[in-house]
C-alpha cells in the first residue's frame, strides 16, 4: 500500500537526510529528490482529482488520539503549485549555487523546507500544524541567512523573531481550543466550535499569529529585508511559497474550521488590512531602489489582495457565488506563486550578470538578457493582473464580488493597486530597451533560463487559459 500523502512529506525528508550525510553529492541528491517528490505529489493530486478527498490516519489510531493527513481540492491545488515551483527553484538552484560552498548548506535545508510545506498543506491537526510551521520557519530563516552578509543576518534574525512570535501566539490559540473541546483534529473541531468568546479569542490568537507569518500589513516589516537579501532561489521560495503556506492556514481556519462563527466585522477588519497592504506595499515597491526589494514589497501588496477577499467571502451566502470567490482567491494565490518565483529567479540572473540589482542602473536588459527580460515582463503581467494571466481572471471576479457587495472602497483599492503595480513593474521594463551602457558580465546559457520561463508562462498563460480546471478540483471537499 503506497500512501501518497505520507510520501509527499517523507520523500523530500529522505532527500534532506541524504544531503546532510553526503554533502559532496548534495546537488545530485537534491535534483533527484526534487524530481521524485514532484512525481509523488503529482500522483497525489491526480488521486484527489479522480477519487476525491484523501485522508490517512498515521499510526492507525485515527483522530482525535492520532494524527491524520488530509488532501482536499484546496490542499491539492496548493500542493501542485508548491511542488512545481519548488521543482523549478531546484533546477535553477543547481546552476545558481553550482559546486560553490553554499550548496552543501542549501540543499538539506531546502529539502527540509519543502517537506515541511507539503506537511503543512496536508495537516489536519492543529498542533501538528504548529510543529510543521516551526519547521518551515526555521528552515526558511536558515536559508535566508545563507549569504552571510550583515544585512542578511540582521534580516534573518528579525524574521526568526517575528516568526517565533507568530508561532507561539498561534499555539496559545491551540491550547484554548484544546481546553474547550478536547481535540486537535480540524474536522472534529469544525463540528464542535460554537460561537462565543472562547471560539472568538482562539480565532484571534491563531489568526494574529499566522498573519505575522503571512506578512499581513502592518505586520509585514520583517519580509522585505529577509526576502530582499536572501539568495535568489531562496527569495523565490520564501515569497512564492512560505508566506502562502501561512495564508493557506488562515484560509483553512476562517472558512474550514470556523465558517459560521467568523463574522463580517472581523472579516472587514482583515479586508482593511489587506487594502493597506495593497496600497502601502505597492507604494514601497515603486520607491524601492533594488529589484529584489521591489519584488519583496510587491509580495506584501499581493498578500493584501488575498485578504481583500475575506469580507466578500464572509458576506457571501454559501453557494456558487461564494465558491467562485474562493476559487478566484486560490487562483490569485497560485498565479502569484508562479509569477513571483519567476520574478525572483530572473532577478537572480540579472544580479549575477550585472553584479548588482539597482534598478536605476539596469538599462538595456532586453538587448543583453532577452529571455530574462521576457520572464520579468510575463511575471509583471501577472503581478499587475493583466490578461491573459490567472491573476486577471481572479481580479475580475474580485472586482465583481466587490461591486456586487457594494464595497466600492475595495474596487478603488484594486484599481489603484493595479496602476501602482504597472508603475513599479515598468520602472525596470521601461529601461529594458535603453542603450545606456550597463556592463553585463555574462551571457547566460539557455537551459538556465528555462525554469523561470516555465514558471512565468504557467502564471501568465497556463492559469489564465486553463483556470477553469481549478474550479473542478476545488469541488473536492473544499472548506465550506
Amino acid at each position: 500500500m503506497i500512501d501518497t500523502l505520507a510520501l509527499a512529506i517523507t520523500l523530500p525528508l529522505l532527500g534532506a537526510l541524504a544531503a546532510v550525510a553526503r554533502p559532496r553529492a548534495a546537488r545530485a541528491i537534491g535534483l533527484i529528490t526534487a524530481l521524485v517528490t514532484t512525481a509523488g505529489v503529482a500522483a497525489l493530486v491526480i488521486e484527489v482529482a479522480q477519487f476525491g478527498l484523501r485522508r490517512t490516519d498515521l499510526g492507525g489510531w485515527g483522530a482525535p488520539l492520532g494524527i491524520a493527513l488530509q488532501a482536499d481540492g484546496l490542499a491539492a491545488a496548493l500542493l501542485a503549485m508548491t511542488n512545481l515551483v519548488a521543482l523549478a527553484v531546484s533546477l535553477y538552484a543547481s546552476d545558481y549555487f553550482g559546486d560553490g560552498p553554499i550548496r552543501r548548506h542549501f540543499w538539506p535545508l531546502w529539502l527540509l523546507l519543502w517537506a515541511a510545506l507539503n506537511g503543512l498543506f496536508l495537516a489536519a491537526d492543529l498542533f501538528n500544524i504548529y510543529v510543521a510551521l516551526e519547521l518551515v520557519g526555521l528552515a526558511a530563516v536558515a536559508l535566508a541567512a545563507l549569504t552571510g552578509t550583515r544585512e542578511a543576518l540582521t534580516a534573518s534574525l528579525r524574521y526568526l523573531l517575528a516568526s517565533l512570535l507568530g508561532a507561539i501566539t498561534y499555539l496559545l490559540g491551540v491550547a484554548l481550543l484544546y481546553a474547550a473541546h478536547g481535540t486537535l483534529d480540524l474536522g472534529q473541531l469544525a463540528n464542535a466550535i460554537a460561537e462565543g468568546p472562547v471560539a472568538w479569542t482562539a480565532l484571534v490568537l491563531m489568526t494574529g499569529g499566522l498573519s505575522i507569518k503571512a506578512a499581513l500589513w502592518p505586520m509585514h516589516f520583517w519580509l522585505p529585508p529577509a526576502h530582499g537579501n536572501a539568495p535568489a532561489p531562496v527569495s523565490a521560495a520564501l515569497s512564492a511559497l512560505v508566506v502562502k503556506a501561512a495564508f493557506y492556514l488562515v484560509l483553512r481556519l476562517w472558512f474550514g474550521l470556523y465558517d459560521t462563527a467568523a463574522t463580517l466585522a472581523a472579516a472587514h477588519f482583515l479586508g482593511f488590512l489587506g487594502a493597506g497592504a495593497v496600497l502601502w506595499g505597492s507604494w514601497q515597491a515603486l520607491r524601492a531602489e533594488r529589484l529584489k526589494r521591489m519584488a519583496a514589497y510587491s509580495t506584501v501588496a499581493q498578500m493584501g489582495y488575498l485578504f481583500l477577499f475575506f469580507p466578500l467571502l464572509a458576506a457571501a451566502e454559501p453557494g456558487a457565488a461564494r465558491e467562485d470567490l474562493l476559487a478566484a482567491l486560490v487562483l490569485f494565490a497560485l498565479s502569484h506563486g508562479f509569477a513571483k518565483a519567476a520574478l525572483f529567479l530572473a532577478a537572480g540572473h540579472i544580479q549575477q550578470c550585472a553584479g548588482h540589482d539597482r534598478i536605476a542602473e539596469l538599462s538595456g536588459t532586453a538587448q543583453r538578457l532577452p529571455a530574462t527580460t521576457f520572464v520579468i515582463a510575463l511575471a509583471s503581467v501577472t503581478l499587475i493582473g493583466l490578461p491573459p494571466s490567472g491573476a486577471f481572471t481572479a481580479k475580475w471576479l474580485l472586482l465583481s464580488g466587490a461591486i456586487a457587495a457594494g464595497q466600492w472602497w475595495g474596487v478603488l483599492v484594486v484599481l489603484a493597486g493595479t496602476l501602482l503595480a504597472a508603475a513599479y513593474s515598468f520602472r525596470l521594463l521601461g529601461r529594458a530597451f535603453g542603450f545606456e551602457p550597463t556592463p553585463y558580465r555574462c551571457i547566460t546559457a539557455v537551459h538556465t533560463e528555462v525554469p523561470a520561463l516555465a514558471l512565468a508562462l504557467t502564471a501568465t498563460l497556463g492559469l489564465g487559459l486553463a483556470g477553469d480546471a481549478l474550479w473542478t478540483l476545488l469541488q473536492v471537499g473544499g472548506p465550506r
Binding site: 500500500m1 503506497i2 500512501d3 505520507a6 517523507t10 525528508l13 529522505l14 534532506a16 537526510l17 546532510v20 550525510a21 554533502p23 559532496r24 490517512t56 490516519d57 498515521l58 499510526g59 492507525g60 489510531w61 482525535p64 488520539l65 492520532g66 494524527i67 559546486d99 560552498p101 553554499i102 552543501r104 548548506h105 538539506p108 535545508l109 527540509l112 517537506a115 515541511a116 506537511g119 498542533f127 501538528n128 510543529v131 510543521a132 516551526e134 519547521l135 526555521l138 528552515a139 530563516v141 536558515a142 541567512a145 545563507l146 552571510g148 496559545l172 484554548l176 484544546y178 481546553a179 474547550a180 473541546h181 478536547g182 481535540t183 462565543g196 468568546p197 472562547v198 479569542t201
Partner: protein, 227 residues
C-alpha cells in the same frame, strides 16, 4: 504618540488582554469537556507497546509530531552549521576539573542510557536521555575538548540525521509491507519504538552538542572543500 504614551498604551492593552485571556480560559476550563483525550489515551495504552502514557503519545499516537520535531532540531543545527566555522573553544582544563570530567562524562552517559530505557514505563525517554548526552558534550567542551566529544565530519553528520532516519526507515518499511506509515503491527510496537528512541537519543544528544559547539563540523579527509 510619544514614546511614553506608547509604552503606557501597550502596557494597558496587554494587561487588558491578560484579563480577557484568563476569563476566556476559565470559561473553557469550566464549561469544557473535562476529560479531553485522557480516557482515550488510557484505553489505548495497552496496545501502544509502552507503559508510559507520555511516551505512548510521543512515539506512537502522535509519532508523526515527534518525527517533525526531530526535523526541526535538524533544521536548527543545519542553520547553525551554515553560519560558519565554530569558535576555538576553551583552554584545556586543569587537573582537578579534568579529573572530575573523567568521572562525570561516563556517569552522564550511563544516566542517559537509564533514562532511555525507563522511558518505556515511567517518566523519561529519548529527549531526556539525549539532553543528558548533550550535557556530557557540553562538559567536555568546557573542559577544553573543542569538538565536545563529537566524531569528525561524516560520522557527525550521520549521527545528526539518525533520529529522523530511523523514524522514516521504520515508517516507510511498515508502509511498504502494508501497515500504513508509522502504523506499528501489534506485538512489535515495543521494539520498534525502542529502536527509534535509541536512534533519536543519539541524534538529539549529538545535535544539541553540535549546536553548542556552534559551527560547521570539520570535514573528514583533506582536500574536501571547506565551506
Amino acid at each position: 504618540m510619544t514614546g511614553a504614551a506608547l509604552r503606557a498604551f501597550v502596557t494597558i492593552a496587554i494587561a487588558l488582554a491578560a484579563g480577557v485571556l484568563w476569563w476566556v480560559f476559565s470559561l473553557a476550563l469550566l464549561e469544557g469537556p473535562g476529560e479531553r483525550l485522557a480516557p482515550l489515551a488510557a484505553e489505548a495504552l495497552p496496545r501502544s507497546g509502552v507503559g508510559n502514557p507520555v511516551t505512548a503519545v510521543l512515539l506512537n499516537f502522535r509519532a508523526y509530531d515527534t518525527l517533525l520535531e526531530l526535523a526541526v532540531l535538524l533544521a536548527a543545527v543545519l542553520g547553525i552549521w551554515a553560519s560558519g566555522p565554530p569558535d576555538r573553544g576553551f583552554a584545556p582544563a586543569e587537573i582537578v576539573l579534568a579529573g572530575l570530567v573523567d568521572w562525570l562524562v561516563p556517569l552522564l552517559i550511563l544516566a542517559a542510557g537509564y533514562l532511555l530505557w525507563v522511558g518505556g514505563q515511567a517518566p523519561g525517554g529519548a529527549f531526556q536521555a539525549g539532553a543528558m548526552l548533550a550535557a556530557a558534550g557540553v562538559v567536555l567542551r568546557l573542559a577544553g575538548t573543542p569538538r565536545a566529544g563529537l566524531p569528525r565530519g561524516d560520522w557527525q553528520r550521520v549521527l545528526v540525521v539518525a533520529g529522523v532516519a530511523a523514524f522514516l526507515a521504520v515508517g516507510l518499511a511498515l508502509m511498504a509491507i502494508g501497515h500504513g506509515f508509522l502504523t506499528y503491527p501489534p506485538g512489535h510496537a515495543k521494539w520498534l519504538i525502542l529502536t527509534i528512541e535509541t536512534a533519536a537519543t543519539l541524534a538529539i544528544g549529538a545535535t544539541l552538542a553540535a549546536a553548542y559547539v556552534g559551527g560547521s563540523p570539520p570535514d573528514g579527509p583533506p582536500g574536501e572543500d571547506r565551506a
